[in-house]
Subunit: 155 residues, 2 copies
DNA sequence: TTACATTATATGTCAATACATTTAATAGAA
DNA sequence: TTCTATTAAATGTATTGACATATAATGTAA
């Protein structure tokens, strides 16, 4: 369905405005569908994102600060997200040897198992994007990269 | 900057997975920059979105339910967002004549003035997307429409 | 008309988030 | 060394959000 129909708006200031609204709308759509899939496993999309980052480093530990740099949403509280994962036994936390301010986080066996189980769901989620060909998906990604390539800092 | 650098991940399962992560990351990036611009005016992106929907109907009223259908993020609580706008004097709420369950919401003079002031900021925000040509912006929007064109319901 | 289902909105609740502040460790300059 | 700045992570707090439920009006079938 076109964005015009989805948000019941027929006119946009210009193609850029339309693209911006469509981007926000589509990201919400995708994020909500992911949240819905993860709900039965008692994981939020953010927790899932952190868990996958941990798996990406496994068996090496990663520090909280490095997790933040890899997160899709930088604004969220990585420290508390890790807390949640610890509470569920999906990760382990140990003091970093060389820097006692820092903390090493590693995904646990249970975390790896849960992710393995969720990999099938992830396929299902990615299939939502199968309306696009591989070439189109690459083109979309390139356009998004270009969109962000402003020199501006802050706001 | 490419998404690889931004989230420090060099490999993706496939082009679709990469596009999905890029979409979520870019939407957060855009949304955060908008929040940052709006902050001095004590408006959240969601409140701003509702205010613009109200202006789109002005001078006609719009019902809360119709606001929800136009919102970029359907999950948020439209009723409380409208509350916030009323509290700030940016909108007015009157009982709907023909259906006493419903409520008519109209943007106020103050709301219109605030939006007029913000239109310049909005230009600035849209300029973030000026890295793309008009054709590219349209292409991006079309790809997003296509991405959402799955027949699936729910998750 | 009476039931009952549906619709529109509001509210209660608890978790998640944003953002500022705190605590503690490290780095570097004087 | 001492002082100060910086960095890493945790915490406090107020706001926002999701989601279930409540309230009230409307529509509809018997």
């Amino acid at each position: 369905m076109s964005i015009e129909t989805d948000i019941k708006q027929s006119k946009f200031r210009n193609p850029h405005h339309k693209a911006a609204l469509n981007l926000l709308f589509t990201a919400n759509w995708l994020s909500n569908s992911q949240a819905c899939l993860l709900k039965p496993y008692d994981l939020t999309p953010q927790q899932y994102n952190v868990l996958r980052i941990l798996r990406g480093q496994y068996p090496n530990p990663i520090r909280v600060n490095d997790i933040i740099e890899r997160m899709l949403d930088r604004m969220s509280n990585a420290s508390r997200l890790v807390d949640k994962l610890l509470l569920k036994g999906l990760a382990q936390r140990t003091e970093c040897l060389h820097d006692r301010r820092a903390v090493d986080v590693v995904i646990s066996e249970a975390g790896l198992n849960l992710l393995a189980e969720l990999d099938n769901l992830q396929d299902h989620w990615e299939n939502k994007l199968q309306q696009l060909s591989s070439e189109e998906a690459t083109l979309l990604s390139d356009l998004l990269d270009k969109l962000r390539s402003t020199s501006e800092t802050s706001c």
